[in-house]
Symmetry: D2
Subunit: 254 residues, 4 copies
């Protein structure tokens, strides 16, 4: 049952979406009319309310994808198309201790924190104070800040943790951190790096080759959305062509 303070994901009948916080006696203006929050309180997710113009608005619970796309952000985010694959390749699971370097707005922190459970731990590193602060805000909003420790610190200087299960690296010059990464990971620990340009990937590959890493793979993903009219089923006209290359490796002992 929706209560005051809950986050809701409002989907209007024309498909337009909003992620909102329900406030007592409050309202929210849309192009299809005002949404009266008092009408939402006490409803179950999945129900709908009417706007002031008599248009339907469905009340849904936001999930991780909706949270990421509607969060406060000031950085490029890891897209869902890449995020799901990275989480799988990092094999993040209950009880894992993982590091996220270059936390940005905190999307990856949120996804990792959800996966490690109450017994796991996520360590977030960023050298920019503003992003530590922004990520903290977003984690609080998602209610999973307890599993995360944030540190305003340059990854190149080394990590404070060892025996880490998985590490995600999203910085402009990842090759500078590879020795620190190797030191932080446990034997067999998994590494994922995102870099948008081919030159960056080349430098990362050179760096990985100099250290005991195996199972090195580079991937990119192309996701194509389709129009959902069954009488004219076909791909959308345009798509995202590139977000990032994804580089994976596992630490071994030399």
């Amino acid at each position: 049952m929706i209560q005051v303070g809950d986050r809701i994901y409002l989907v209007l009948e024309d498909g337009k979406k909003y992620r909102l916080q329900v406030k007592k006696d409050g309202s929210f203006g849309t192009h299809l009319g005002q949404v009266d929050f008092n009408q939402c309180i006490g409803r179950e997710f999945g129900e709908w309310i009417l706007t002031s113009q008599g248009r339907k608005g469905y009340l849904l619970q936001p999930g991780v994808v909706e949270n990421i796309f509607h969060m406060r952000r000031r950085t490029q985010i890891v897209y869902p198309k890449d995020l799901g694959f990275i989480l799988l390749m990092l094999d993040v699971k209950e009880g894992d201790r993982v590091i996220d370097v270059g936390v940005g707005s905190g999307a990856m922190l949120g996804a990792l924190a959800r996966l490690v459970g109450d017994k796991g731990r996520v360590y977030g590193y960023d050298r920019r104070e503003e992003f530590i602060s922004l990520a903290t805000q977003n984690l609080i909003e998602w209610g999973i800040q307890d599993r995360v420790e944030l540190k305003c610190r340059d990854a190149q200087a080394g990590f404070l943790e060892t025996e880490i299960d998985a590490l995600f690296l999203d910085v402009p010059q990842p090759w500078d951190c590879l020795l620190a990464v190797w030191n932080a990971l446990r034997g067999g620990g998994r590494l994922a790096i995102v870099s948008p340009t081919t030159g960056q990937v080349t430098q990362v590959l050179e760096g990985l080759a100099r250290l005991p890493f195996i199972e090195i793979e580079v991937w990119e993903s192309l996701f194509r959305k389709y129009k959902t009219n069954p009488r004219a089923f076909r791909p959308e006209d345009r798509m995202v062509a590139h977000t990032t290359f994804m580089i994976f490796a596992r630490k071994v002992l030399s």
Copy 2:
């Protein structure tokens, strides 16, 4: 520390991989020589042993991706490229109650069971007894059978659960199950369907349009692997062109 009975993921120095169970006094033959299991016992993951031909073999822990690709299977599996995205779109998390229809060899069951945690529950449906049995074996091997209930039952006949958070449907004629799916889901609950042909997708879209489902999306993914030689960075010559279309929807109340 590796012990008798453990599953290991052996990566030879030429990149060839094997998922093995360590047996006391046992051995395993590879094209680069015999691996003596007694040599593996007591090692840490990430270390290496030598084969009888003096070639290195790294001892890694298998994760979800390695488990899926090396499991006993008699069905087409959901590829990692699609699996990560589906899990994200289904928003599966600790405590969720989810249904997997058409369990096949059990790969999706395993992935879901890991995500729902000890308080969650996965209900698996398949009308073919042989797959219930195969999936059970694989779940036992992965050690997560306690979170899963398997039922040899036709989904079209309806599900025994209600208020389900997320449902994954992998059957040849998914349109026949859509009413049963709608009944099983909670308000706002999430549905993912995989179908390989455009005709199947068209029929699913027609079926979804007749029921209160919103946020209907159809996606396909293309993942391209790159050669990892930094001096000749380029995509591999060939790739998987198609596995399945992924259809997503959320239940609302009419």
Copy 3:
């Protein structure tokens, strides 16, 4: 040497492009200032002039790609990414007699007319008078109208030619024309059909299966453009996801 009446392809120093006709004492306004046509007259292609704001504008000769993208058009065009492949698969060459059905704005007519040479012939069919007229204008502008015969006629009613080497079909319901197409083609003659939706392709495939056609193939193309900064070589952020499916077949005798 550029003369009055010539078509030029003006490329400004910021990459913005215009296809223009040089007029005596005329000028053309751009966001980087006026281009004085008298300055262009007598120049060689490849040279540059200065705009009224002192910015460089390169004077190039428009080619088939530039002509197509800058022509008067009121229809969806066949994109270069598909056009080159279709022309190759149709094996159009000097002396060929080819048919273009659904001429639209005339882009394909222009491409075909260039390939068949002075001894070849292109027959264009469209049942909409306005497109016969528009295509005629464009052909005159490109100076290749002599090789083309246009007919305002429904393809379903049959073609007036036989022993045709290659036929291109771009109409909403191509399956209605397949018998007429078979009758028009010579033995071994080549057919290409473009259709944007999967349902259309399915119907075309059903129609082709009922007639003596072999070498049936269906293709789609995805072209990805890259950013040309050598220090950050990577694909563009967005791309065309879909234009059309391309269906090919060759006529045989039963």
Copy 4:
């Protein structure tokens, strides 16, 4: 009417294909039985003959695509998926004078020679005598050797022609030839370069930036083939993931 000496493209009823030369009293063995050439003589293209096992074999005329894929070759060829686009971007047409550098087995020479007509000219450069010889054989077989001049010469040493309309460069280190290329092209002349690795493209882009070239573009193409069963229309399982990057530019005067 098929005659002794003609090249035919034989398509068996199971889709297997052969490019053959018809020889008097000769025969050709296939997995579906012997094909008796005397049976083929006097037939029209599009007709079929029976093999010794009573299976149908269709008699088609080979076109440019069939010629390329079935020619004698000892090099990587430019695939049709890229070839059609390159020919379009190079804007090759009747009367053009074009250069092909790195002729390899001669596929591009053949495609270019067809397009330039009797009044055009194709100049082929390769520093390896064996490829000059192989390309010559293939051109003779296709009957278009009169339009082509082959030179066993290193492109880096400069071209013997000037005022060239279009130039195609397929060598391992294209950046070494760019000044020679610029000198050979006419103002506005078009250049296409193929290179498989990202590092090569980066070096080409650096080289192009140092010379008066504009309209620089880099593309790659992904072509996906579909299964042609109308009841299960879907992409093939696997596809070519990468052949080459295609780099385009036009010469201007500085």
